[in-house]
Amino acid sequence: MSTVDSARRLWEADAVKILVVLLAIYAAYLLSGLVLGYSLRGQLNSLASLTFYIGVFATLALALNLHWGYTGLFNIGVVGFMAVGIYVMAFVSKPLYGSGGAAQVGGLGLPIPVGILAGMTAAALLGFVVALPALRLRADYLAIVTIAMSEIVRFTFLSSTFQQFQFPHTLAGDTTRVGFGGGSGLILDFPDPLLTLIDALGLANVYDGLVSLVGTVVPNNPDPIVHSLVYGVVLLGIVAGYFWLLKRTGESPFGRVLKAIREDEDVARALGKNTGRFKITSFMLGCALMGLVGILWLMGQGAVTPNFFRPRLTFFVWIALIIGGAGSNTGSVIGGALFAAVLYQGPLYFQNLVTSVLQPGDAPGSFGPAVAPLVANLDPVPFLLYTLDSVRQLQLVVMGVVLVWLMHNRPEGMLGHRKETAAAIPLVGRSERGEGDDGNGPAPDAVATDPTLAGDASGGETDE
């Protein structure tokens, strides 16, 4: 009885929820890795890539939560801000043209941190430009403007006009060959950002120690494994940073105004708040955070192509946010993690699992030869093989169905109504639940489980 009780109390804490979900995901992956008979190297690799995707989707969902969950801004142009982030960062931080290497165009050759700052600033400025007209309009107009903007950004980086051009890089006005690479992409030939960071922190010895430590269990070339694992851990640290930043923002007076705008903008305005300015600030902050994720996602990948930033990536982030429940930071992280593990990486992992267990032959190349045997002599094998082979497409079908299902059955997300209220003080008496909390302010669900409040929260998001 008491253990059940204490377990329940533990579950109440948000950090525990996140940890439990992450542990469950990792356990599931390790277990299926065992079934697959992965070597230690394979296990570590799959963990590293899983951590990477959990990290990027959780941060993206958190940034989107600032837009939609806190302020009620319907942004479906997430990829546009990510693209601007990484492209501007590459523009600033790539070495000058002609300094060796295979890159067709150079950059300004400034240090990586400067590039990251420039990328985030550019994303925020783009957010400003987009928000300025769209904030005066209904929510669905903002949606259409943002998605159109993200496509304009993609066309810009795709076009041959900006493939390469001259740009002044000294005060004297000397120009250098720079550009965005066009459709064939841009090689990111700056020094490895993770190693640079480690060097800057003076942790090179620790890192080398880690490499040789892993080298004792994975003798053959342990360096890439350690690199991707450490990068994953750094990303998780950034998730924690985003979480902290958004929690602080949400609880500050600024954040309370944002929530008030989400619930009823006219009331917020009647209270004397310049809601337009609050919305623009919040939008720009979220865009800068999205730009940073774009940078973090791609700066270690060696190259970037514009078509990486198709609108579908935006919808991935939306699905992640909706799984967790808009309005809640904990939900965003859990949603991001679940999306990455189950919907994004899961199907491919499942494909590997089935392929390695059953060792099937070659799949038919198209739907016709796959179905013909099924119709002719009830032989389902080619069809199943084709299905397995098409996991990448079917995965998107599954995502669509999951999104529809969520909107029908759990529009408030997995954790239920977790929208934080705009009030600074708890609106209902906190009888027996409040004491167990960590004291960092009102526990969100202690407030939001009040049925009337919850109803208000979900009803306040019609147009405007």
């Binding site: 259409i144 304009i152 079908v397 529009p411």
Partner: protein, 371 residues
């Protein structure tokens, strides 16, 4: 909007006027440059402009026809349907499967024909498909495209949208994104991801219209597209102007509750909306593919943002607005290549949409009035 105005008062009004004046000035600048190029410097040939405008009109008619459906659901069901583009694709594939089947019966196996030659098993050019060479197949394809899209729209409404009809527009919008995903990638799963040529490009009869300093080519598929889209647009106009249905739709888009208590069978109106919108959308998809001669699983999605631009431009709910918006968007996208690289032609259309949102958010044909 009214509240904003009264609160922000005159400053906002002046700012709006200045903004509008700037955009008008930029527009005039483009016009002056165009006339300069045409008449004085001669850097733009009349025939080139004519070809671009004709191309834009063709594209614009497709966007407008598909936009009517989007505009109707937007104003009556009150949500931006992001799966609309994939209705276009569904209609196109259904219609083209029929056309392939009729045109190629006996010359290739039925499975590959029904899959519109997935994996390169049958080539449209080899079947000699064209409106003059295989008119029956094309007409049957148009009909099937319309009918299948109607059925699809009704089925999806039944399963997906009806249970959450009373939710907010944003909930429905997000749901429609899910539907769009599922539809598009199911189509890719079945029909494959390759873009295929559908018509016998070389054997389409065409005439050269002499236009000041050169020729504008018009082929049989241009004429088909013009006839089909204009005919359907006229038909919808009469349907909505002459029947009670149109009046009921206008009443519903104004105020659904009021419509219901005055005895309008709202569910039936919704069904009629999907039938008209879906049918027009499917046909638009079919003739678009007939006109451009290629078919891929992404076609409708790529068209969707242009359609949104057209609908917003014309004013949500107005079918004339959708048609006019479609023409403006189509011509903008195609004529813009005179000034900017062609990679940005779609971007130019989006910019026009954003400008309209800035200076006249209610659209050119303002107000919500179906028909």
């Amino acid at each position: 909007m009214g509240l904003t105005k009264s609160l922000r008062g005159r400053w906002r009004l002046t700012a709006d006027r200045v903004l509008a004046a700037v955009f008008v000035a930029v527009g005039l600048l483009f016009l002056v440059d165009l006339f300069w190029g045409l008449l004085i410097s001669g850097s733009i040939a009349f025939s080139r402009l004519g070809t671009l405008v004709w191309d834009g009109v063709m594209r614009g008619l497709v966007v407008g026809l598909a936009g009517i459906g989007l505009s109707m659901t937007y104003s009556i069901l009150n949500f931006a349907n992001f799966s609309h583009g994939d209705y276009i694709t569904s209609g196109a594939f259904a219609g083209w499967a029929t056309t392939y089947l009729i045109a190629g019966l006996g010359r290739a196996d039925i499975g590959s024909l029904l899959l519109v030659g997935a994996g390169g098993s049958v080539l449209g050019g080899a079947l000699g498909i064209g409106v003059t060479t295989t008119p029956v197949a094309v007409v049957a394809g148009i009909v099937v495209a319309g009918v299948v899209t109607v059925l699809l729209a009704l089925a999806l409404d039944r399963v997906v949208y009806k249970p959450i009809r009373s939710e907010s527009g944003i909930t429905l919008l997000i749901t429609s994104i899910g539907v769009a995903f599922a539809l598009r990638y199911l189509i890719q799963f079945v029909f494959g991801s390759d873009v295929r040529g559908t018509t016998a490009a070389g054997s389409i009869p065409q005439i050269q219209l002499y236009f000041v300093d050169g020729a504008v080519r018009i082929d049989a598929h241009d004429v088909t597209l013009l006839a089909v889209t204009a005919g359907l647009m006229l038909g919808v106009h009469f349907l909505l102007q002459m029947t009670k249905l149109g009046k009921a739709m206008r009443a519903m888009s104004d105020d659904e509750d009021l419509a219901r208590i005055t005895g309008i069978p709202t569910e039936r109106v919704v069904r009629a909306t999907w039938i008209i919108g879906g049918g027009l959308t499917g046909v638009a998809g079919y003739v678009f593919v007939l006109w451009k001669g290629t078919l891929g699983f992404n076609d409708g999605w790529l068209l969707l943002l242009l359609i949104f631009a057209a609908v917003i431009l014309g004013g949500i709910g107005s079918i004339y607005g959708a048609i006019a918006g479609g023409l403006v968007i189509g011509i903008t996208a195609s004529v813009s290549v005179l000034w900017i690289p062609s990679a940005f032609s779609r971007a130019a259309a989006f910019v026009v949409m954003i400008v309209i949102l800035l200076v006249r958010p209610q659209g050119l044909f303002s107000g919500r009035s179906t028909a």
